[in-house]
Structures are given as C-alpha cells and as structure tokens.
C-alpha cells in the first residue's frame, strides 16, 4: 500500500509535468490559478479536509476539467493514504472518487487488530453548483453555493460493527458556500454536512451512542500570498457516535502551492484529535494534485 501511494504521487507528478506539452490548448485554458481549490481526502474539490462549493479542474463553463491526487497524512500513531480522481463538467457538475487507506501500523497490534491492519474506504461523490459565483461576483457578498453527496463504503464490516458502528457504508450530504474576497485576497468557505460517519466513515457509520444523522460544520479560510500560493486553516466538526472512543474535531494549517495549472502541492499540519482511543493524532499532511 505504501508503494501504491508512492507510485500514485509519482504518477500525479509525471502527469502534471507532462500536461503542458501533451494537452496543447487544454493546458492554456481555464480558470484562474488556485480558484478550483485542491482535492480533499474525500475526493471532492476543497481545501484538503473541507469540501468547497467550487468545481474541480481548471475548465470553465466552456469545457471539462479533471484531476488526480495522492495524499499522505503521517499521524502520531496511524497513517492515512489517499488517492483519487475527479472530473468537473462545465464548471457545474463534479464527479469524484477517492480511496482512503487508514493504516494502523504498529498501533494495530495494540488495538488487537494486528500490525498494519488497514481500514480501506471508497468514497464516490457528486456535487452540483446551484447559484452564486465565488470569483467574478466581487460586487456581491453572495457566495457560490453547491450541494453534494458522498457515498462511502468501508471494507471492514465486522470490525466497525464490533466497535459499535451500525453500518460499514453511508451517505453524507452537504451544502457548501465559497467566496473569494479579492479585495482582501481571501478565500472563505463554510459547509454544512449531514453525516453518520465515524472518523469520516473509516470507523463505520452510526453507533451505540447515536445512530442517526448529525449536522456538522467544516470550513476554510485562505489568504492569497501570491498567484501561486495560498496559506490558511481549516476546521471540521464530526459526530461522536461511538461509545468506545471519543471523536474530536479536526483542524489544519495549510499552504497550497500551484506549480502550474497542471500541478499543485499542498503541505499542512493536521490535528485530527483522538482516533480509536489513541490520543492527539497530529502530523504532516502532503498532497499532490495533477490535472487540467
């Protein structure tokens, strides 16, 4: 799996570097740098942890854009590896897929699961832009608003039931509002998500403490330092459905650098709180995205 993510990063980098030569006009086209956000761990376009209302890819309403990404989060007692792909259709519809691998490493043995026990999850997402404009409508406070859904399926049905989850699959729905405030060089997002997911689904859906949907918040603030570089922070609340271990909100501080319209690199310090009884999980978040 580690090999796979390394290969994923390498492929993403190669695609990104090759695109300007290969794709001709495609590489020239599109939105302004960084206005498509970056790929989140759930595959949708956003800030990394938070999904935004923007549509993936550098294409405008005039065409189709796409991205592949590979992400690695090195936590205190776990690692999260994540790769995926997304397509943006006419800056209106986004379809995405992500594969998350939550590797317990040596912690797996302490949890009684076995060393390197890994929870794998598929996330299939769709997002539709409803109204408003994040970038052009600078004479208005109205943000760009999109709604979306993410179907998530975890491959460790027996384990997630054993820790108290009700299901190994579930669907999140969200409404996201994103606005670029060019006057202040700021990017803001606020997203409301209805979810049953424990640790975004890696520990299943619903639980012994609460089985239904919870309304949760996720948001980002970014400051545009240059055309290529945005720095900022994110915050994401999550349900606390499982009795065996409490679940915390997530936050991060990030820097996203667009090498070109075909390649971007995101580095972050992520704090994911307590996960499955192991306290204070934090560490480096690295993500590479390639596309057009």
């Amino acid at each position: 799996m580690r090999l796979l993510i390394t290969a994923g990063l390498a492929v993403a980098a190669m695609i990104g570097l090759a695109l300007p030569a290969q794709a001709g006009d495609m590489a020239y086209s599109g939105k302004l740098l960084l206005t498509q956000g970056v790929s989140t761990i759930e595959g949708s376009a956003g800030g990394g942890l938070a999904t935004w209302a923007v549509i993936t890819g550098y294409e405008t309403q005039d065409g189709i854009g796409a991205n592949v990404h590979a992400t690695y989060v090195d936590l205190s007692d776990y690692t999260l590896r994540d790769y995926g792909a997304s397509v943006g259709l006419f800056d209106r519809i986004e379809l995405s897929y992500a594969r998350e691998a939550f590797d317990t490493g040596s912690t797996g043995a302490k949890l009684g699961l076995g060393r390197n026990f890994t929870f794998d999850q598929d996330v299939v997402g769709a997002k539709v832009r409803l109204f408003g404009d994040a970038v052009y409508a600078q004479d208005s406070w109205m943000p760009q608003v999109s709604v979306g859904a993410q179907y998530k399926s975890n491959d460790k049905d027996a384990i997630v039931h054993a820790v108290g989850a009700k299901s190994s699959s579930g669907t999140d729905v969200y409404i996201a509002a994103t606005k670029v405030l060019l006057d202040d060089s700021l990017v803001l997002d606020a997203t409301l998500r209805a979810t049953k997911a424990n640790q975004t689904g890696l520990l299943g859906f619903g639980g012994d403490r609460k089985s239904g949907y919870s309304p949760e918040f996720e948001g980002s603030v970014g400051y545009l330092l240059t055309r290529h570089l945005v720095v900022g922070g994110e915050y994401r609340t999550k349900p606390d459905n499982l009795g065996f271990a409490k679940e915390d909100s997530w936050w991060d501080l990030f820097a996203a650098y667009a090498v070109s319209k075909n390649l971007s690199l995101t580095l972050a310090y992520a704090d994911l709180g307590d996960i499955a009884t192991f306290r204070n999980q934090h560490g480096l978040y690295v993500s590479l995205q390639a596309g057009f």
Binding site: K31, D91, A137, Q138, D139, S140, L182, S185
Partner: protein
C-alpha cells in the same frame, strides 16, 4: 416640449453623435474612493505601460489573439487607458462604450476573459504593482464578466 425635455433630447442626440460624450458610468464600475491604487500603478505613465503590455501580450496570446485581429488597437489602447485611470481614481474620464456594447459580437467566452485577466496580472507584475493591489483592482473588473462574456461553451441545460 418643455425646456428640460429639449435639453435632454439635445444631450441624447449629442451623445449618440459623439461617443466622446459618453459618461463615466459606462466604465463598468465605480472608481476607488482614494487614489492609493492610482499611486500603486505609478500614475498615468504606469497605467499606460500596463495597458501597453496587456495589449502586446494579448495580441500575441494564441488563446485570444483572434479577438484582437481587425480591432482598432490604438483606440482600444486609449479606451483601456481611460477606463483603468478612471477606475483607479486618477484624473481621467472614460469616453468609451459601456462594457456590454463594447464587447458585442466578439463572442467572448469565460476562458477568454480569464486569459485576458492572466495577461493583465503579468502586465501588473511587470509594472511592479503589489499583489494585494492587483487583487483590489481585479475585484473591480471581475463583475464585468457578467456582461463581457456573451457566449458559453456549456450545454444549454448546464448554462448559468
């Protein structure tokens, strides 16, 4: 006809006959309150340089050079000079057409608009306009996308 109506009619007739009398309202946005940005652009000479670079880059830009073919470039340069100077709170009057009329029948798409913005960013870089000030100026221009972009490449169902 009352006197007021007569004057109005005369002014309207003049405005139609002479585009030079078109009002500042056609500049597509209200100017900044202070001349801080005008100074950041190094005044009128700086604005002229930015516009020159913008036009040179755009005429040579394979994405949008077709749009500039057959256009009266000296006139376009003057209109952009006036518009930028007016919006940046410089001592200028904009005498051109409004943004909708000025871009009529050019078939400009969002992608073209963005290409122009990117060239403007390069031109502002070259002039040494600080990034934050560039963004403040772009915030003024961005809403013009609504009227400048008159053609969409999206299927009807997905269009805005």
């Amino acid at each position: 006809m009352t006197l007021a109506k007569t004057i109005l009619a005369a002014v309207a007739a003049l405005a139609i006959a002479s585009p030079a009398l078109a009002a500042d309202k056609d500049a597509g946005a209200a100017p900044f309150q202070t001349d801080a940005l005008y100074k950041a652009f190094h005044g009128k000479p700086g604005i002229d340089r930015v516009v020159d670079t913008l036009l040179v880059l755009s005429a040579a830009d394979p994405r949008i050079s077709d749009i500039f073919k057959g256009q009266d470039i000296p006139h376009l340069r003057q209109m952009l000079d006036e518009q930028f100077c007016y919006l940046l709170a410089g001592p200028c009057t904009y005498t051109g057409k409004d943004m909708k009329e000025g871009h009529k029948d050019l078939g400009i798409q969002e992608t073209d608009f963005n290409a122009m913005v990117e060239n403007l960013q390069k031109a502002m870089d070259k002039e040494g306009v600080p990034f934050r000030d560039q963004n403040r100026f772009l915030a003024k221009l961005a809403p013009m996308e609504r009227v400048v972009v008159q053609r969409s490449g999206a299927p009807k169902l997905l269009q805005r």
